[in-house]
């Protein structure tokens, strides 16, 4: 119950922190649009301001020049400079007239507009400046050394003038404001249209994902096929996902299939020993028998049970080896010397081999280090040795050789001098429960599992195991272990 509760809390947490692609996309669209609008606004305002200002400057320059034209020499002699105020140019804004002042070379004020502010501070040398006069913002320019246009005989060199001219910038401000408002409103309209379009596009764009999810929901242990609708296959971005899903499904199917097959094989293999046991007991009970007969029957049954027990144990070993080979089990591995595990296996088998008058010889050339569980390796060697000894005639020998390669891949061979394996059986000997000759194998106590276990374990360590056999001469089993012995990861197993 506590577990269920925990799972529910976990789910709720996920629910709360769930992020939506749609929301994220819309937000990013909105943000980029807003940024764009702001940029546009700034650029628009700046540009408008510059344009208006340069227009104003040009305007004021023209006005200033026309002021310069109004400075004339009088008819008197010597000719005096004077300002003809009758022709003063009209102001841009009649309500806030322009300001101007004209100085002669010697800084003598020639004229100035009536509204010229008394306390106007001018920065020396600046040709443009902004200021406020009685609350009205002004922009002014300075024209230096403007020659007097009027020509008078007797004046050798035309005098030059310094002119200041300023116009109010109120209208400029209001124009900028209007531009800003226009840009802002059109951006807002564009933004909302974009959001709607983005929502529609995203929904349409994510539809294949929904389709894929619907299809994936149909996959089960009985239906491993993932049917990809065309609208999903068309989407390029979904390809990595669908490909890995298809790969994962086929891996799962294979491993499911193997489990099912194993279960089927196991059930099938168990039936015969159970049938033997059952029939023994039934025929014992069929009618009253002497105590000797009962005793013999019970002893037989016990033997049958022991055989059944061994079969079960082997099947469990195989199941473990296959699980391990599929990466379902993770264990701690240590660096072991393959030679040492071979020696241990030979020791384990020696007494039994000698009881069958078979010699076991071990040939090694130094250490062969490998990362593995030593029990696994010993089990493989024992299985291969048992097989070799089992099919060896009396008085023959079995040779085990470990070829280490200075930390490189190691090769271990098991050579017997038995009757060999028929070529037709050779491709099948590593299949579980495969027995080339069932009656003979039964007589020798095999179940047809030893080689399957060996293959499963060796495959788990990334190695290979092969058999070659010459009928009448013997069989050689060759195990190749990769350098270092890093077990295969689940992902690279298939």
């Amino acid at each position: 119950m506590a577990r269920v509760e925990m799972a529910r809390v976990e789910m709720a947490k996920i629910e709360r922190t769930k992020s939506s692609i749609k929301r994220r996309l819309v937000w990013s669209v909105v943000a980029s649009q807003a940024l764009l609008a702001a940029g546009l606004l700034c650029a628009g305002v700046f540009y408008t301001y510059r344009r208006l200002l340069s227009t104003l400057d040009a305007n004021m320059q023209a006005h200033a020049m026309s002021l310069a034209a109004l400075v004339r020499y009088s008819e008197d002699t010597p000719a005096k400079l004077y300002f003809d105020s009758t022709l003063t140019p009209q102001s841009v804004d009649p309500q806030h007239p322009d300001l101007y002042a004209v100085w002669r070379e010697n800084n003598e004020l020639l004229t100035r507009s009536p509204n010229w502010p008394k306390q106007l501070q001018l920065t020396n040398g600046a040709n443009h400046w902004n200021f406020e006069s009685s609350g009205i913002p002004y922009h002014g320019i300075r024209l230096s050394r403007v020659p007097v246009l009027d020509r008078e005989e007797g004046v050798p060199r035309p005098e030059t003038l310094n002119i200041l001219y300023a116009s109010p910038t109120l209208h400029l401000r209001s124009q900028i404001k209007n531009t800003a408002i226009f840009i802002a409103i059109s951006s807002l309209v564009l933004l909302s249209v974009t959001v709607l379009l983005a929502l529609w596009g995203i929904r349409k764009g994510l539809l294949p994902l929904q389709n894929l999810a619907d299809e994936a929901a149909l996959v089960s242990a009985n239906n491993w096929q993932l049917h990809l609708p065309p609208q999903v296959e068309e989407v390029e971005e979904l390809h990595p996902l669908t490909e890995s899903m298809t790969r994962m499904l086929s891996r799962l199917e294979r491993s499911f299939e193997q489990q099912r097959e194993f279960l089927g094989n196991a059930a099938h293999e168990l039936k015969t020993p159970v049938a033997v046991l059952k029939s023994t007991l039934q025929s014992l009970l069929h009618r009253p028998r002497s105590s000797e007969e009962y005793r013999a029957g019970l002893e037989q049954s016990l033997q049958d049970l022991e055989r059944l027990e061994r079969l079960l144990e082997w099947m469990l070993r195989l199941a473990r080896a296959e699980q391990w080979a599929h990466g379902a089990l993770r264990r701690d591995l240590e660096v072991v010397d393959v030679t040492v595990t071979c020696e241990a296996a030979v020791e384990r088998i020696r007494a039994w081999a000698e009881s069958r008058r078979t010699q076991v010889h071990l040939l090694t050339n130094g250490t062969a280090l490998f990362r593995a569980d030593p029990e696994d390796l010993q089990l493989v060697w024992t299985n291969l040795l048992e097989n070799a000894v089992r099919y060896s005639p009396e008085g023959s020998s079995v040779e085990v050789a470990v070829h280490s390669n200075n930390g490189g891949p190691a090769r271990i061979t098991f050579q017997d001098h038995g009757s060999g394996i028929p070529a037709s059986d050779l491709p099948h000997i590593f299949e579980r429960f495969y027995r080339g000759d069932p009656s003979r194998d039964r007589a020798t106590g095999g179940f047809g599992l030893g080689l399957a276990i060996a293959k499963g374990l060796i495959a788990a360590y990334g190695g290979t195991i092969t058999a070659d056999s010459t009928p009448g001469k013997g069989t050689r089993m060759t195990v190749e272990l990769p350098a270092g012995g890093t077990p295969l990861e689940l992902s690279t197993n298939h």
Binding site: H268, K271, T272, V274, A275, V276, L277, K278, S279, T280, Q282, S283, H286, R287, Q300, D304, D437, P438, S439, R440, R442
Partner: protein, 223 residues
């Protein structure tokens, strides 16, 4: 009746054979692989064959096909560890008369063996009736006119075989063939001994004989 067991697991074969001998009174031969089974089936006449499927040399289904294509009608009861529908259907289509999945019940095995033998000889009922003689093949009892008749094992076997083939002439050699297994020396004069014993026990006082002797041909059970 004589039955052939083809089974590679010697213990199982021995247990089945013992049961068939003890509780059905059948003569039983055992073959441990398909080749041997095929040889025995071809060289002897059996009333039924119990056939395991997983056999060395020649598997059960191949052997069955060979027997059937050679025109043998012997009923075949298949013993299989597989119980998938397809393989059962395939077996029956290959000519099997019945099947049993391992591990089976010995009682059921015997009952089914009796059934395939009976049906093979055109006798649907387990109680065979010839005139007023009733032969119950289930509990191996014989009655005549409601009176129990106690027979020896061999006498019963002779009568049972004849009763399965009423009104047919059965030669002495056929009787020998179906009453003894492979390991027995066959002497035809023992049949005469059993027949005369049967005649005495079945005699109900009338001069009417059930078992007729056809000189030079054999015997016939007829009311």
């Amino acid at each position: 009746m004589r039955v052939l067991i083809v089974e590679d697991e010697p213990r199982l074969a021995e247990n089945i054979a013992r049961s068939l001998r003890e509780s059905a009174g059948y003569a039983v031969d055992i073959a441990h692989d398909g080749q041997e089974g095929l040889f025995l089936a071809e060289s002897n006449t059996y009333d039924a064959i119990l056939l395991d499927l997983m056999l060395p040399n020649l598997d059960g289904k191949q052997m069955l096909t060979r027997i059937r294509s050679a025109g043998q009608h012997t009923p075949v009861l298949v013993l299989t560890a597989r119980d998938e529908k397809e393989s059962v259907v395939a077996l029956l289509n290959a000519g099997a008369d019945d099947y049993l999945t391992k591990p089976f019940d010995l009682g059921e095995l015997i009952a089914r063996t009796k059934t395939v033998i009976r049906r093979g000889k055109g006798q649907p009922s387990p109680v065979l009736t010839i005139g007023d003689v009733e032969l119950n093949t289930v509990n191996r009892t014989v009655q005549r006119g409601g009176r129990n008749i106690v027979l020896t094992a061999m006498e019963y076997r002779v009568l049972e075989y004849l009763a399965h083939r009423p009104r047919a002439v059965v030669s002495k050699s056929e009787l020998l063939e179906h009453l003894y297994d492979y390991n027995w020396e066959k002497f035809s004069n023992v049949i005469e001994v059993y027949i005369s014993g049967l005649r005495k026990k079945l005699n109900d006082g009338s001069s009417r004989q059930l078992i007729h002797t056809l000189r030079g041909q054999g015997y016939m059970l007829q009311d």
